[in-house]
Amino acid sequence: MRLDDKTREIIKNEVANQLGSEAIIRLFGSRVDDSERGGDIDLLIEPSHSLAKRIQIECQLAARLYIKLGGRKVDVLIKDPHDPILAVHEQALKNGIVL
């Protein structure tokens, strides 16, 4: 996993602030692969409860992290416990690493 401790802490704190500390955060995509370089930070987040405005919260969280991480691009995907599992979720659940 290519994510330093400080970045990981910032991500975990922001997610906990917005969605509660029980939310599970998975890093997936190119940052999981130690042999690659750079790339966006792709996150799949599973909150313990349903969200009324999921897309809005995804955008808010991605923007907060972009600012807190000094302009690094973060893609946030939230998997609502009641939503069906989509192909993109499956991929992230299979290959993702829990932070």
Binding site: K53, R54, I55, Q56, E58, C59, Q60, A62, A63, R64, Y66, I67, G70, G71, L86, V88
Partner: protein
Amino acid sequence: MSSIQDRLFLITQLVKVTQKEARYLTRTANRLNELNINLSWVESLDNNDLHSEMLDAFVSRYGRLQDTLGDKLLPAMLRGSLEKTGSQLDNLLRAEKLGWIESTQIWIEMRELRNRLVHEYIESPSNLLSALQQALTCVTILIETQDRMANYVKTIEQI
């Protein structure tokens, strides 16, 4: 290094472009607002060329105005005001301090939203609907930002 006149000329040209982009965005947003978009409207897009082309026009006009304002006019205005330009985030934070944009956080959220509009297209109608409804409410922010930046440019032109 370009002269002050060259910089001002570029800024004035970009303001004109954004004025036109803002007009086009307002028109397509008004048309969509009149349609009272709901889930069945979104679900019918597959078989309705008129509506799906309206949606495409909206998404590209929204994105185009935001890109010209944030990625072209904003750095040009910073250079024109002899401010330092830096990364996209640096420029946005500076613009927020100068009062050109209201909030860096909201500006980035609007950009994220536009990416969703492109992606959710394929994924799910209900997600597309919620992204679209939110984007329609953000149009005002884009138009106000264009207005604010254009007004600031008017004040430097007079100097």
